[in-house]
Symmetry: C2
Subunit: 253 residues, 2 copies
């Protein structure tokens, strides 16, 4: 099968969230990422590869389309296009009906940058965190920048979009503890942290919104070690998430 | 003074490392970042702002050029241009002749992504790390993507480019301990870490190079908490740097 104009149009349309939502599809690029998605039982609708690259995918289910590297370059969203691009079906992620009480989860309150979202999904996977609950205004995890930034971790994390306030209220009723970082919080290095609960990470510019702040049970604080006294330091939200997850997890060892 | 064609050409040329090096200049955009650079005694050659924005810079030294927002949009490298752009002089960073033994430093072995470099500089500042030594193949810290990603932290960190092997050999002779992360290293959470030394972070794709590995005194390892057994997890280098710095610093409390 050759690369048709319709497939090219489809891939281009999938750069828009509207069409990704409507069709329940997303695009992934590169050998390593696509292998990881396949290993995690993701299914593709169409896989487009150079003849040489196609060999290793020839037994996969779904449409297989051979294309030249020049053709792939035209449909790629990457600065350095790779030799394989695939259109995958979005998994149907649902939160378990009863939240697991013995599990650590991450909730995102309007994370806007796709790179940050991708990095957070990747580190969630690293720390064995299987549920990431996103507010409805958080960036779309099927955005190609997010997919690529996860480096395949999207295959191992259940990402769920929900009204975050409702979700946290439900968690409260189930006595699941909710954590967030605030300037007036307890020093995270010196706080006892339980192996379960929900870590809320706030928007890049505004932090955790007032509505959500009310639902935080334990306010934490990451202290700076800067000594210049100018107090201009801040942490990128994905770096802050990494430090928080690292502290939670090391305390379970 | 109006925005001349020559200034526009100068700003465009500064998107290339070659011209930044030759002229010892770099470009910074946005009110907050520029204020932080000025507060840290950075000097600008030219500052270009809308008339309204110019008011707060009117007493600064250097050429002041008023421009319309449309003109600024044309010279901006940002997706959302701000109302002020400035051409700064690069500071002359030098390592102190004798390395400080009671100080924690970061060394970068060919970090390629400007976003990662910017994030690492930002977190170095957060953790009070004042020296970042970059291998000669590490991305240029005056690249506009790096400058913007540091969020002003570049004003508080001494960034130095050097032959990394020579630098680490000198450190060795001065009995400064060199750390790096490797799969066969000691679990970082369970390792005693001193408050001083040099943390080496490796290239995004290849990790720490063999030549540099020989100069590592203490190999550390960040354990994953993933339980899917597929071992596909990896950490972004800036996230790994954050976890390592956090572990070093919390152990000094």
């Amino acid at each position: 099968m050759a690369l048709s104009k319709n497939k090219i149009k489809l891939i281009q349309s999938l750069s828009k969230k509207k069409y990704r939502d409507e069709m329940g599809l997303f695009v992934a690029e590169g050998e390593k990422l696509i292998h990881q998605l396949l290993a995690a039982q993701f299914k593709f609708q169409t896989l487009i590869a150079t003849p040489l690259m196609m060999e290793q995918f020839s037994t996969s289910n779904g449409d297989l389309v051979e294309a030249s590297y020049d053709e792939i370059k035209k449909i790629s969203s990457l600065i350095t296009p790779q030799e394989v691009v695939a259109i995958f079906y979005q998994p149907k992620n649902n939160l378990p009906e009863a939240l697991q009480k013995n599990e650590l989860m991450i909730a995102l309150d309007d994370i806007q940058d796709p790179g940050n979202l991708g990095t957070i999904i990747r580190l969630a996977s690293w720390f064995g965190i299987k549920q990431v609950i996103c507010s409805l205004k958080t960036a779309d995890c099927y955005n190609s920048k997010v997919i690529q930034a996860t480096m395949g971790a999207i295959a191992h994390v259940n990402i769920y979009y929900s009204n975050l306030k409702d979700f946290l209220e439900t968690a409260h009723r189930q006595q699941i503890k909710v954590y967030g970082t605030f300037l007036e919080g307890d020093n995270i290095y010196q706080s006892a942290l339980l192996p379960d609960g929900i870590i809320v990470m706030g928007n890049e510019g505004n932090g955790i919104s007032p509505d959500i702040e009310k639902l935080i049970d334990h306010k934490l604080f990451i202290p700076t070690f800067a000594t210049n006294g100018q107090n201009v330091e801040s942490l990128n939200v994905s770096v802050a998430a990494a430090i928080i997850c690292s502290e939670f997890k090391r305390k379970t060892i």
